[in-house]
Amino acid sequence: MMPYKKLMFAVLLVFIACTVQAEETLKQYDGIKGRSYHSDFYDGQSCDSCHDSKKPLNLPADDACLACHDLDDLIKSTSRAGDEKWQNPHNNIHYGKDVPCMECHGEHESRKPLCQGCHTFKYEKFNQ
């Protein structure tokens, strides 16, 4: 089963590459991990930027990120050409534009893209 081994090796490499990247953006703040590009939120009183209250016990709404991030811009920034057109995670073949952000993105923990449950596409810019 050579191809399988090769595949596993490739998966491992991607994993290592992503872990390295993740270390770049997933930082330890006061009592909680968070993304470096959201460092403004970690002043101890801005949890309600995403969560419903200042003392979050629950996950944010599925559309919380879209309060700041524009979906059309996101689609543009991850667009793919030719026969990879529908591998755009923000507008993909199976679910269109309707995948809740948190299915792939973890603010306080690392996550892997939903597609990787089955597919081996690479998302180079993805911060795991």
């Binding site: 629950n58 996950l59 559309d63």
Partner: protein, 511 residues
């Protein structure tokens, strides 16, 4: 209040699909707690709807649209996953329809009776012929529902394993999402409420034994240990359970068939765990054919899930040969029904008894007609060879035997008769095997559950103690069992799910 619920409401989704009917529904929702007389244990209702549907695959979506078309004011779909579409959004987009517009165009003679007969044959004597015929007769209507919603299909038909004529449409993106996405849009347009992360737990009966609602856990986060908070949802016209199969529930499937352990892969996405079905059994539904669990003979040994090879092989088997690498000889009719092929493939082993996946060989010239070939080559799960020598060397197949097999097979193409395994050669007409070649390696995966809860032809769930329909309880799609018998033919689940979903809606709207 929101803290207690453990999740927050998606403001965008809340507004999705709120037509006039949607606004009316919200008004009902706003009233604090609805108490209803006559319900068992004085159920406190948190919501009330006219039609309640569990699951957002083909069956649930078709039911919602049909209910709306029949005048339902307030239809809701509860879906446990974050995304809508279930197995249906992953499916291969192949849809069998007898007496279709494309058959008319291609001059192919077919009938609902002929399709049902092909299916009954694969069902090996235990299929539900009445339901098969009901679905075959209305498949055209279901196809039209998808066309009206904006689905697009290749302008040609395919002839899949076990079908006596070409009758299979396929979406132009070769995926069931080419149907679920348009149907979801149609639902939104019609004002169907779509609620994700909503896990159906149990049915609620009134004191006369009629299903009047369902317990749903809102804010359920699949796989994250967030179970959500329970609400009681009242339904005026009963509950349709359209929760799909259980191919991913290893405990349940291996209890039926001990060979289907965790070591056997599955083509299904993670949603296919079958709790909805277990609740139907819990309230007394009749289990049928639970051990008949289908594996897909077109899956690949070299990738996960359904992947790319499945659709590639389904398209190409008709004009390809599959050979056992040890002998270089064919070992099956490449378009026999699924069970026949999977069983034959599982016999292909090396000297130590380990799987030795058979190699399926296609002329490049014919393989390239289908868009999946590019993907198969690009992602390294298939190979292209300029000569039979190269092919034999790569796959470690005895060259002389392979050459003879190819020559022999080309004789069958010429004659139009497969003397080796009796494969119908209509779709292989003029398609000789010649270099360059493309190959893939097939190995079966758990794909589809023929078994489920017994329903009648009106999609009513049958009670195992009274043998009468359980009032207010409906099931459609893969969760229902018995229609297909031992083996379901390819492209026959879409018509089953869509037609039975439509049928369920019709029965509910008459109630």
């Amino acid at each position: 209040m929101k803290e207690e619920k453990g999740h927050q409401v998606d403001r965008r989704k809340f507004l999705v699909g709120m037509g006039i009917a949607g606004a009316a529904a919200t008004a009902t929702l706003a009233s604090p707690v609805l108490a209803a007389a006559g319900d068992r244990c004085e159920t406190k209702w948190d919501q009330e709807h006219e039609v309640v549907i569990i699951g957002s695959g083909f069956a649930g979506l078709a039911a919602a649209i049909q209910a709306k078309r029949l005048g339902a004011k307030d239809v809701v779909i509860f879906e446990k996953m974050a995304v809508f579409g279930g197995n249906s959004a992953f499916n291969g987009g192949m849809f069998a329809v007898p007496e279709s517009p494309l058959q008319k165009k291609e001059g192919i003679k077919d009938s609902p009776e002929a399709m049902a007969a092909d299916q009954a044959k694969a069902g090996r004597g235990i299929a539900n012929k009445e339901q098969l015929l009901h679905v075959a007769k209305r498949a055209k209507e279901a196809l039209q529902m998808t066309l009206d919603a904006g689905s697009e299909y290749f302008p040609y038909l395919q002839q899949l394993g076990g079908h006596s004529v070409p009758r299979t449409y396929q979406t132009t993106n070769a995926v069931g999402a080419g149907i679920t996405q348009p149907l979801l849009n149609e639902c939104k347009k019609l004002g169907v409420r779509l609620v994700n992360r909503a896990m159906f737990n149990s049915l609620i009966f009134d004191d006369k034994g009629k299903v009047v609602g369902a317990k749903i856990r809102e804010g359920y986060y699949f796989g994250r240990g967030k179970e959500g908070s329970p609400i009681n949802v009242r339904s005026q016209r009963g509950v349709l359970v359209a929760t799909g199969g259980f191919a991913r529930n290893v405990g349940l499937r291996s209890a039926q068939d001990p060979t289907l352990t965790a070591e056997v892969g599955s083509t299904n996405p993670p949603n296919a765990t079958g709790e909805g079905l277990l609740e139907l059994f819990h309230v007394g539904a009749v289990p049928v054919h639970m051990a008949h669990i289908q594996t897909g003979p077109w899956a690949s040994a070299d990738e996960d899930g359904f992947g790319y090879v499945s659709n590639y092989s389904i398209y190409n088997f008709a004009h390809s040969i599959s050979v056992y690498p040890k002998t270089g000889r064919r070992f099956m009719n490449e378009i026999a029904d699924r069970k026949t092929r999977s069983d034959a493939q599982l016999q292909c082993r090396d000297d130590t008894g380990n799987p030795l996946p058979p190699v399926t060989i296609t002329s490049y010239e014919h393989a390239k007609e289908h868009p999946t070939m590019k993907k198969v080559l690009k992602y390294g799960v298939g190979w292209k060879f300029d000569s039979v020598e190269e092919l034999a060397k790569h796959h470690n197949i005895p060259l002389k035997a392979l050459k003879e097999q190819i020559e022999e097979y080309n004789g069958y193409v010429k004659k139009g008769v497969d003397e080796q395994f009796g494969k119908p050669m209509a779709k292989a007409k003029g398609k000789y095997l010649k270099a360059p070649f493309v190959t893939v390696r097939n190995w079966p995966k758990v794909h589809y559950c023929q078994g489920g809860a017994l329903t009648d032809v009106n999609a009513r769930v049958i009670d195992s103690t009274t043998w009468k329909p359980i009032p207010g309880l409906y099931a459609a799609g893969e969760v229902a069992g018995g229609m297909h018998g031992v083996s379901r033919l390819g492209s026959c689940s879409i018509p089953d799910c869509m037609v039975m979903g439509m049928t369920a809606a019709e029965t509910m709207m008459k109630s």
